[in-house]
Amino acid sequence: MSDRNRRARNARTVEAVMKVVTGACVALVVGAAVLILGKIVISGIPGISLEFLFSKPGMGMRAGGIFPIIVGTLMLVTLTAVLVLPLGIMAGIYLAEYAPKNIVTRIVRLSIANMAGVPSIVYGLFGLAVFVLLMQFGKSLLASALTLTCLTLPVIITSTEEALRQIPSDLRQAALALGATRWRAIYKVILPAAAPGIVTGSILGLSRAAGETAPILVTGAAFFLPRLPDSVFSQYMSLPYHLYVLATQVPNVPPEITWGTAFVLVAGVSIVSMIAGAWRSVQRRKVKW
């Protein structure tokens, strides 16, 4: 009896300790995130003005704004999205809905998972070799967007596949039993139901693309350009690379310019995430299983 009591007491102690330990880990993570974001917001906000957002950099990037840098980033991310979303979502649909369960499919899936782990500078070198040199796109928006497409493809494919797999198979069966082809069942029923998950994955992937420095550094981002890119074969300026330049390559940059640039990058990504999040919760309220 006393033995059982002791065991019960031990279990309660372990329970209490584990609750505190796991909670402390969360507090640490949240604390770090708050610290980073807090620093960016506090140091960045003073640099933000309409002039900062809508004018060109001046005085060797030590004054003026970041308009061409914002535009370059938007163009790069848009072009990447146009390339990667159809490709990645279609591939995810194939893997979730059509692929036979065999060794080849397993190898394909494993390769995609491994692609996600390749360091981004390796993608950069690949892009330099293939898109810039071999395909002769030169250092350009197109070469960078193609490189970022390779980089984000695994995220998009995997999240699409996961989102599709979470849709109850009842719905597939119901559509097929009504004489729908596989594609019609996917297009009309499965895909709309999985859209919130797919959008989340896409935003995540594109946010990563927007913040990457290494791959664009070697495939097309410019140190300084006095004009906006006029075609997909132009070089461009971009927020993450500009940030790197301000932080390490140009002496005596006023801190509000560096931190203001960081703030714009973080705020841009956050705003897109929040819009997607709001849309998703509206969808969720409409669709319950």
């Binding site: 119901a174 729908a180 082809t181």
Partner: protein, 288 residues
């Protein structure tokens, strides 16, 4: 009933003479169709044969109930009739299944076309996450119906046939998930009817529902059998006795051997005077 007498002496070679006369009010030349003949049907998952040697007729415009203990292959046999087993990998169907004389497993038959003729209602209500209207419109739209008035007419007819129209006629734009479980299942019946099938397969359609909803589903089935052939899998013997014209009793006697059809016949006769001892044991509740 003429049907039962015919069923008992019919051999598979005999012509199908089980159809009832043409519906009153139907176009004069309308052919009554939607009868199945199963000849030596077997089903295997990989190397394991789970059903073997099923011979039976499913008469047109009548309710056929498949009964038997859990795991006896009722649902698997049901899914042979619209080739939904094709969607599960590694399933082989042997023997012949013919729908109005057409071998539905021959190469030239596209399962997609077959499923427009043979609809299915599932165990759990599974409406699509869209409006009531769009749920019912899914089948007709798949078939290429685009005109608004035509769709409206089909949808109203299907919802009326499924005894749901009066409850939803003012809420067709509402999301299907706002309906109760029983209403959702009747919506699924309407959705299946909207493709104008000749046969409706029902896999324990009331097993997830409360008694009142079950009653409504049974009433609906009674109304529908003048329009479509119904094959229903049920665990509930009283239900089979209440709603079906013909009953087939399946049994898997041990895990070493495949399930088989013990007895098939007119429901009234099968429940009062079964031919087989095992049928008698099952319907009197001695096992299963």
């Amino acid at each position: 009933m003429v049907m039962s007498a015919a069923l008992e002496e019919v051999t598979m070679e005999a012509p199908l003479r089980l159809v009832e006369p043409v519906r009153i009010g139907a176009a004069s030349a309308e052919k009554v169709s939607g009868s199945f003949a199963l000849k030596d049907v077997s089903v295997a998952y990989g190397n394991e044969t789970v059903i073997a040697g099923v011979n039976m007729l499913v008469p047109s415009r009548a309710v056929t109930a498949l009964i038997g203990p859990s795991g006896c292959g009722k649902s698997t046999l049901l899914r042979c009739l619209n080739r939904m087993n094709d969607e599960i990998g590694n399933v082989r169907v042997g023997g012949a299944v013919t729908l109005d004389g057409l071998d539905i497993y021959q190469k030239s038959v596209d399962p997609v076309d077959l499923r427009m003729r043979v609809g299915q209602v599932f165990q759990r209500p599974n409406p699509f996450p869209m409006s009531i209207y769009d749920n019912v419109a899914f089948g007709p739209r798949t078939q290429g119906v685009r005109k608004r008035e035509e769709l409206d007419a089909i949808i109203e007819a299907a919802l009326r046939d499924a005894a749901l129209w009066d409850e939803v006629k003012n809420h067709l734009k509402k999301h299907a998930f706002e309906l109760s479980g029983g209403q959702q299942q009747r919506l699924c019946i309407a959705r299946a009817l909207a493709t104008k099938p000749e046969v409706l397969l029902m896999d324990e359609p009331a097993s997830a529902l409360d008694p009142i909803s079950t009653q409504q589903i049974e009433d609906t089935i009674a109304e529908l059998k003048d329009m479509v052939t119904i094959v229903i899998v049920t665990h509930n013997m009283q239900q089979a006795a209440r709603i079906s014209d013909q009953t087939a009793f399946m049994l898997r006697e041990s895990m070493d051997q495949p399930a088989h059809l013990v007895e098939v016949g007119e429901t009234k006769r099968l429940f009062t005077n079964p031919d087989d001892k095992r049928t008698e044991s099952y319907i009197t509740g001695r096992f299963g």
